[in-house]
Amino acid sequence: MKNTVFLGALAAAGLASGLASAATLDDVKARGELNCGVNTGLVGFAAPDANGNWSGFDVAICKAVAAAVLGDASKVKYVPTTGQTRFTALASGEVDILSRNTTWTFSRDADLKFTFIGVNYYDGQGFMVNKSLGVTSAKELDGATVCIQTGTTTELNLADFFKTNNMTYSPVTIETNAEGEQQFLAGACDAYTTDASGLAATRAAFANPDDYVILPEIISKEPLGPLVRHGDDQWADITRWAMNALIAAEEYGVTSANIEELSKGTENPEINRLLGAGEDNLGAMIGLEKDWAKKAIIGAGGNYGEIFAATIGESTPIGLARGLNAQWTQGGLLYTPPFR
């Protein structure tokens, strides 16, 4: 009996000892594969197709990092995580990077000991209701039953919103987006709340999307972005600049169509530095090859704008406008620090 306990404890400790190794880059290279934490399935952002190939807006970050580090965008192991399991998966080392529409908040950064490497989608929390309810504003939701994914910032925003507007509600807590969809469609809740982009993606997967309306109120700021563990600055730099490379590429007009041409050298020194075409070797500074950013852009399937248009943009069923997520030159918030 005691022996069994001892062996069990030994096994548990053995699992735990994989924790918190500092050099994530070396681990990933040795493994030959990037472990990327993604959503369990949110059309447009991260969802597997019939063949099990993952694609989407958040998945593109995984591919960009894998391409920059390993030179092959397909060398990614996608680990589906729920709102509840995501931080444990990252903290325990099960995933190297979490790319799963996670809101950048103070306490997650400071208290949970994670490093947000940037924002890949500026979002805000919204509400979706059935059109037949006749509700046109979130302010009319007094007394409603609201479905909410547990363990998310939306849960806290929801409480604050109803409190400040002096309204009451009854929460129905659910674990995954799929479960929320089912409960909402069955009428077990009057409203479904999550980030507006998530609502759009969820509605796009409904049989009758037109029966549902997303209310105009956006009740919070939700800067969504990928994150890594505290304490490995090199890995944070690699992932941060891999994402920045996608954004910078759009700003400079580098697309998947012209990237080969441009990487031979251009008049613009910043493009040269980004694509490793000039004298400067930015890749060496973060432990990667000279053309790391070029690989990242090709691996991700193009620059930020191309990825956006292909996965969640207005021509897709999800139909999100660029809005705040346009380049700073176009009146949006996307602004990457210079590549120099």
Partner: protein
């Protein structure tokens, strides 16, 4: 003269620790204990190091921070301004509520099914066999999910009750509404309430205290009446008629108190999106309760059947020979003797119910696992602290149930004099 010298004392050699049966068992135990302690120490050390590497500390201070989230079922008052510690209390009470409800219902149902399975009636015997085999051999999580799905998909949404020509209507004289979210039932209210007193952790309703006090008093007085009747019977051989006194003593004070307090039931009314005014019993609670009850009742039925089977057949025959009818035989002769076989395994079924109630997460019922181990864990990122606390609480509950049931077992087990 030769002196007899003592036989030389066998000197202790180290090898005796292994080869001498007097020492071997102790040696093995000491070695195992040392290994176990070393393993535990290594585990703790590993955890501390890794926490340090992650830059995290180990502290339960988060329990006093503002929770910030809402819970849809609370037995004592709670708002999103309350602390995480209080959210934990809400979850704990919800766990205890569903565990208690399930234990009671599963026991009643289990005893009935267990007895019926021994019925000489072929159909009843087969039906209960099917019930037992079906519920025992399918995981309890599936039963909970099935119950929840039935509630959600079959029952109408609250807005189906709206309008002049609603598609759904309330039952039991328009007082109960079955919806796909909850069952709205009338709420007992007091027009002239005595108010509440705050005992720090929660509010105590003085109305409830008064009612319990009056009922307790009535029962005590009734006992006195019955005792005096027995005394008269012992003395004279004629038992005086007491039934009207008993009814009067048991019923009149409570009714008078309720009237004085202005007792009435407030009916649920559809206002806005949901029913208000009544009590909402959530479907997640009902589904969890139903799933746990049906599942565990099948096990309890088998325990009861085994217990009855353990009572000698001669007991039944003797009871019949005395002229006792079968149901009196069962309740007066067989079941009391079967209890000493039934109670010990019943304890473990109660523990199972309590532990299985943590499956609440599947239907969004906010039990201890949902509050402390779910939302609090996630919002604060204190996985280790939350899980340790949760393990400690479940361990405590289990030990308490086990202790209380063992006291009961000692009181019903066969007494040999």
């Amino acid at each position: 003269m030769a002196t007899v010298s003592d036989a030389p004392k066998a000197s202790f050699r180290l090898s005796m620790l292994i080869y001498d049966t007097r020492y071997r068992s102790i040696t093995i135990q000491v070695v195992v204990l040392l290994l176990f302690m070393a393993g535990a120490a290594w585990l703790v050390d590993n955890t501390v190091r890794n926490l340090a590497a992650l830059g995290k500390d180990f502290s339960f201070g988060f329990l006093w921070n503002r929770a910030g989230y809402d819970i849809n079922q609370m037995l004592v008052q709670y708002s999103n301004d309350s602390t995480h510690g209080r959210a934990m209390l809400i979850g704990l009470l919800n766990t205890l509520l569903v565990a208690f409800m399930s234990c009671v219902a599963a026991t009643v149902l289990g005893v009935i099914i267990g007895v019926l399975r021994l019925s000489p009636n072929w159909i009843i015997g087969r039906l209960t066999t099917v019930y037992v085999e079906m519920f025992r051999n399918i995981p309890v999580l599936l039963w909970i999910l099935v119950a929840y799905a039935v509630f959600t998909e079959v029952l109408p949404a609250p807005n189906a009750f709206r309008g002049d020509n609603p598609t759904a209507s309330m039952i039991l004289f328009d007082s109960v509404a079955l919806t796909n979210r909850y069952t709205a039932i009338p709420d007992p209210m007091f027009a002239r309430s005595l108010g509440n007193i705050d005992v720090g952790l929660f509010l105590v309703s003085l109305d409830l205290v008064a009612i319990i006090a009056v009922i307790t008093g009535s029962v005590l007085v009734n006992r006195k009446i019955l005792a005096s009747a027995t005394a008269v019977q012992n003395a004279t051989g004629v038992r005086p008629v007491t039934w009207w006194k008993s009814i009067l003593v048991l019923v009149a004070p409570v009714v008078l108190l309720l009237l004085a307090l202005g007792f009435h039931a407030e009916r649920p009314v559809l206002r806005g999106f949901n029913f208000t005014g009544g009590l909402d019993v959530s479907n997640s609670l009902m589904a969890l309760w139903l799933g746990l009850t049906l599942y565990t009742a099948a096990f309890i039925a088998e325990i009861v059947r085994a217990g009855i089977g353990a009572v000698s057949r001669g007991q039944t025959e003797a009871a019949f020979a005395l002229g006792l009818r079968p149901n009196r035989t069962m309740s007066l002769v067989i079941l009391p003797q079967a209890l000493r076989v039934i109670v010990p395994p019943l304890i473990s079924q109660y523990l199972n119910i309590t532990k299985n109630s943590s499956l609440a997460i599947a239907v969004g019922y906010m039990d201890l696992r949902g509050t402390l181990g779910g939302i609090t864990l996630n919002q604060t990122g204190r996985e280790l602290e939350c899980v340790l606390l949760m393990m400690l609480i479940y361990l405590t509950i289990s030990l308490l149930i086990s202790g209380a049931m063992n006291v009961y077992n000692n009181s019903v087990k066969l007494k040999e004099r």
